[in-house]
């Protein structure tokens, strides 16, 4: 082992508490980054599986560019292309399975196949019973289905059993006539039914969702793909089903946010590491002096400290990866139940992609080494003579004033950027303010603690002054600790600001757009993809129910605008306007609803406008199954359910004409004034029973659902805020422990001249409170622009919320600061009070 490594290991193992605290700081940041990156890919994969269904082992899949159904004759056109061996039409839909009857699967891919052509494309070896035959596809045939043996076993059904599936008419019962040996793609259970049955179940008319094809054995795959593309034109996509790009983008955004939060945690860890290494350098001045005197070069000294930081980083990162794995397993366990309940999504596991490893290891090691570089370089710069002198002023303090000015300049520039108007400039401004405040923290320690110590001295009359003096004698160390606390507190304020504004805004959306007496929505809250719509008869039955005054429905189809998949929601402007409305923006109002009755008009939600850059009055082209069409935005409005995704609203007539969609995915209903609500509800429940993929809510229940959802989100974010504050607790603890150790002799002297153990304890607690006060004060100041920035950034994405000043966040931040100050002081204060006077006086 090299001398540098040996020294590093022995120094680290010699100071166990400090090493543990410093290591914990790294562990925590790495755990957050690695753990969260381990949860998201699994969730994303499961989501994509759910949305995409399984393509299976075919050479080519054709879908429409807008992901909307298309005429079945396209299969014949594909089959005619030279080089294509066989092509078959497919109608594929993922259905969210109702909880009753319990088939042990949350979702199922129902694949409508043409028995005449399907097996040439995808061989299906029979395991039991028989395959689907052409007679099953006849108009009067009994509904039949086949499934892979594994799926049938999972669902607990066997050949001859009936299976109830959600469909546009409510439910459809099919009989399992056979099982096959071909394995289903991982995480996706498929049930095959005759094409005509699938088209009827999902109200597709004679349209299909895919064409699957295989090539001739000798065909040039690329040439055949190109030939198919040329034959079909731009309206079709070759290769696979279009991914649910919006959700994928959502996951990528979530991953980016979590990485930023993880980086913040590591940055706080960086301050702890910085403090530790500054202390280490101060402690080892004599060692450094001796080493320099005996011939160690500056490079050697730098190398010694960097080796120690590398070792510390490696240990912390290693443990952080381990903790991250545990964290990911825990979080995915917690989220699984929650998300599956919400979306009827497939199971998902913990997946660590290579970039998660690279990010976690790179940042863990990088931040540790980076934080150690400044003290290490300072150590290398110390002349042997300076190092050997018995008492030296802190070299770091010399630069404090210079750094404070630089910090002030950054704060001024950062504050100016807040008012430029662009979100990017505002984000940069926030970062500059945080960096500036960190740079100036050492200088701010004295004035802030001079002010805050008055309160402490009022309580701890005799000890408060000593606590203040102790803190102010090493402003560099106090400043670094306060910076870590500041980041924590700023994040707490930011998160509370975000939740207050966003959840408050969402509540307003919910009230305005779904605040009807009754609501029928799919189990899957996300409207696109897996939801099976209901045919018009559902709404008709509700309309015909006694006591119902008005009904409005929402219909769904996908489309492509500027290469991006968007939702098209079809509403009947007149009936929708009677019982609900949008949360209007861009100067739009209820009057604009009526304009949707004109052809070629849409109302766009904020998310759509944010992502496309289009606004009221603009014209754009949208890819529909009927080809490219031009639309004009006649209003800006958001509804609660679809606010998260880029959405345009068209009239249901337009949706039927251009997309061929006549199924409802949401039904809103208002009761007549004076109607017997309970009776109305009972009648609606009877109807809802026939549509198991739908759930019925009255306004109070719906309110409860949204309140629960918001409460869960609020709890999640509060937990996140608390977790992000943990490094500040470590920073305080680390600094106080270092301070007590460094002042051992002084504490011995104080005890010798009459200080009681209680007084010594109070000095440490007082110091902790003062230290926290600096961080909290700075964090409150830095947190407000951060919270404004986050809300503004969300608004830029199209989710428009009024900013709510985070008073609760401010209060929470102060409470967290005080609580952490007390917690952090507990152990060092106890150690200090327990010191043996004689031994403390002899301590070197």
């Amino acid at each position: 082992m090299s001398i540098a490594l040996r020294l590093a290991w022995r120094y680290l193992s010699g100071r166990k508490l400090r090493t543990a605290l410093t290591t914990l700081a790294i562990v925590f940041g790495v755990m957050l980054i690695f753990g969260l990156n381990g949860v998201l890919p699994g969730m994303r994969d499961a989501m994509q599986r759910m949305m995409l269904a399984a393509i299976g082992e075919v050479d080519l899949t054709v879908t429409s560019a807008s992901s909307a159904p298309f005429p079945a004759e396209v299969a014949q056109r594909v089959a005619e292309v030279r080089g294509v061996g066989a092509a078959t039409p497919v109608a594929r839909r993922t259905v969210a399975m109702p909880a009753k009857p319990d088939y042990k699967v949350t979702s199922l891919v129902v694949v409508g196949i043409d028995p005449a052509t399907a097996y040439a494309v995808r061989p299906m070896p029979v395991a039991d019973g028989r395959l689907l035959e052409e007679r099953d596809d006849a108009p009067d045939a009994a509904p039949a289905a086949i499934a892979s043996r594994a799926t049938a076993e999972k669902m607990g059904v066997k050949v001859g059993d009936a299976i109830v599936l959600p469909s546009a008419s409510g439910t459809t019962e099919v009989t399992l006539v056979g099982t096959i040996d071909s394995p289903a793609p991982p995480g996706s259970d498929e049930l095959y039914v005759p094409l005509s049955l699938a088209q009827e179940m999902f109200a597709l008319g004679d349209r299909i969702t895919d064409v699957d094809a295989v090539f001739e054995a000798t065909a040039d795959r690329t040439a055949v793909e190109r030939a198919v593309k040329d034959r079909l034109g731009d309206a079709y996509t070759i290769g696979g089903i279009a991914t649910e790009s919006t959700l994928a983008a959502g996951f990528d955004a979530a991953a980016a946010i979590f990485n930023v939060l993880g980086f913040f945690a590591l940055a706080m860890g960086g301050f702890i590491i910085l403090n530790t290494f500054r202390t280490v350098v101060a402690e080892r001045r004599h060692d450094i002096g001796m080493l320099r005197a005996t011939g160690a070069s500056r490079r050697t000294i730098l190398g010694l400290f960097l080796t120690e930081s590398l070792l510390q980083g490696a240990i912390g990162t290693g443990l952080g990866l381990l903790a991250g794995w545990g964290f990911a397993v825990f979080v995915s366990g917690v989220l699984r139940g929650y998300i599956q309940g919400l979306m009827r999504m497939e199971d998902f596991g913990v997946v660590f992609e290579p970039q998660a490893w690279v990010l976690a290891v790179g940042l863990g090691m990088g931040v540790t080494v980076l934080a150690a570089v400044v003290p290490a370089r300072a150590a290398a710069r110390i002349t042997p003579l300076d190092a050997l002198r018995p008492q030296i002023g802190d070299v770091y303090e010399k630069a404090a004033t210079r750094r404070a000015w630089a910090g002030l300049a950054l704060i001024v520039v950062g504050a100016a950027l807040l008012f430029v108007g662009s979100t990017g400039a505002m984000g940069l401004g926030c970062v500059l303010i945080l960096v500036g405040m960190s740079l100036g923290a050492a200088t701010a320690v004295k004035p802030i603690t001079d002010a805050t110590s008055r309160a402490i001295e009022a309580v701890y009359r005799s000890e408060g002054g000593v606590a203040r003096a102790n803190l102010q004698r090493n402003p560099g160390r106090a400043g670094a600790t306060a910076s870590a606390v500041m980041i924590s507190i700023a994040l707490v304020v930011m998160i509370f600001g975000m939740t207050s504004s966003v959840l408050g805004g969402y509540g307003e959306y919910a009230k305005r757009t779904t605040g009807t007496d009754f609501l029928l929505i799919p189990n899957n809250l996300i409207v696109s993809g897996g939801a099976v719509g209901a045919g018009p008869e559902l709404a008709q039955r509700i309309r015909a129910t006694d006591g119902i005054a008005a009904v409005a429905t929402l219909r769904y189809a996908p489309a492509v605008v500027q290469g991006m998949t968007v939702q098209v929601i079809g509403i009947d402007p007149d009936e929708y306007g009677r019982i609900a409305s949008f949360r209007w923006t861009e100067g739009s109002s209820d009057a604009d609803l009526e304009r949707l009755n004109r052809p070629g008009t849409v109302i766009a939600n904020g998310n759509f406008r944010g992502q496309t850059g289009l606004g009221k009055g603009d014209t754009f082209t949208m890819m529909t199954p009927a080809g490219k069409r031009t639309f004009t935005i006649v209003g800006g409005g958001n509804d609660y359910i679809n606010a998260k995704l880029p959405t345009v609203y068209v009239s249901q007539d337009a949706l039927a004409e251009l997309w061929g969609v006549t199924t409802d995915i949401m039904v809103l209903a208002n009761a007549k004034e004076g109607a017997d609500r309970a009776a109305v509800r009972a009648a609606l429940e009877g109807i809802a029973r026939d549509y198991p993929s739908f759930a019925l809510y009255d306004s109070a229940e719906w309110q409860k659902v949204t309140d629960n959802l918001f409460a869960q989100l609020r709890a999640t974010y509060t937990t996140l805020a608390l977790m992000l504050a943990i490094p500040s607790l470590l920073a305080l603890l680390n600094t106080l422990a270092i301070g007590v150790l460094a002042r051992t002799r002084e504490i011995g002297m104080l005890r010798a001249v009459g200080a009681t153990r209680r007084q010594v304890k109070r000095m440490v607690v007082g110091e902790s409170l003062l230290l926290a006060s600096v961080g909290v004060a700075a964090g409150l100041v830095a947190g407000v622009p951060l919270s404004v920035f986050v809300v503004k950034a969300i608004t830029m994405l199209g989710l428009e919320f009024p900013y709510v000043f985070p008073w609760s966040g401010m209060a929470a931040a102060v409470a967290i600061g005080l609580a952490f100050a007390g917690l952090a002081a507990w152990y060092p204060a106890r150690q200090a009070a327990k010191l043996d006077v004689i031994r403390a006086l002899r301590y070197e």
Partner: protein, 243 residues
């Protein structure tokens, strides 16, 4: 042959009215194998002289020649190399690395010079044997007495076979018995092992082990006397008023 030669060596701290002359035109020569003690009241410039000769500090004017090389012309890296190869240091507070054992501490200069670990350890243990610590090779500094720690420091100073050993108050932190032992060991370093030893001390009994005593006052050399034994040392000290 002179191992150390200083000419007009001057060190002034500060400037203008606050300037303090720590060393004032000091000329001093030290031959190979010679043991020289530097004595004088606190603040007379003893330690400054040692630091300038060891290249730990730069003179305001004058020259220092070590082993034929004028050190003021050397870069930081060259000076570091010279210290590593030609000069050994012994400090008042031992300055051992607390987390390394005796053998590892003594081997440090060789390890820093790139010598292989086994070879460095072998040489270190050989020197530790010579200074009487052959049985405490694996002991950490906190397991050794003050005298033993200083022996480790002396072994460390000698392990790279330097021409010159600089000792700054090497007995200042030891009891009288250990002080005598360390002084005898330094005597052995010069007389038997042929190194020039320049030692700063306050203690007349320790200085009496040297071949020569240089007396300083207010940054100047006021007396430079060869001594034969403790009695002649006593006479010299009385002459300059130290006793």
């Amino acid at each position: 042959m002179a191992i150390v030669e200083t000419k007009g060596l001057t060190k002034v701290y500060g400037s203008g009215e606050t300037a303090v002359v720590a060393l004032d035109h000091v000329d001093l020569t030290l031959d190979a194998g010679e043991f020289v003690a530097v004595m004088g009241p606190s603040g007379c410039g003893k330690s400054t002289l040692l630091n300038l000769i060891g290249g730990l500090d730069a003179p305001t004017s004058g020259t220092v020649v070590i082993d034929g090389r004028e050190i003021s012309t050397l870069s930081d890296d060259e000076m570091t190399r010279l210290r590593r190869e030609r000069i050994g240091f012994v400090f008042q507070f031992f300055n051992l690395i607390p987390v390394l054992d005796a053998s590892e501490n003594a081997a440090l200069p060789l390890v820093l010079n790139g010598t292989g670990a086994a070879e460095a350890r072998r040489k270190a243990e050989e020197w530790l044997g010579r200074v009487g610590l052959g049985d405490r090779l694996r002991a950490r500094p906190d397991q050794l007495s003050g005298g033993q720690q200083q022996r480790v420091a002396i072994a460390r100073a000698l392990v790279s076979e330097p021409a010159l050993v600089l000792a700054d108050e090497p007995t200042g932190n030891l009891d009288s018995k250990s002080s005598e032992e360390i002084a005898s060991l330094l005597r052995q370093v010069s007389a038997e092992w042929g190194r020039a030893v320049l030692m700063v001390t306050h203690d007349p009994r320790i200085a009496a082990h040297a071949d020569r005593i240089v007396f300083m006052r207010d940054g100047r050399v006021v007396d430079d006397t060869k001594i034969a034994d403790a009695a002649s040392a006593r006479v010299a000290m009385e002459r300059v008023g130290l006793l």
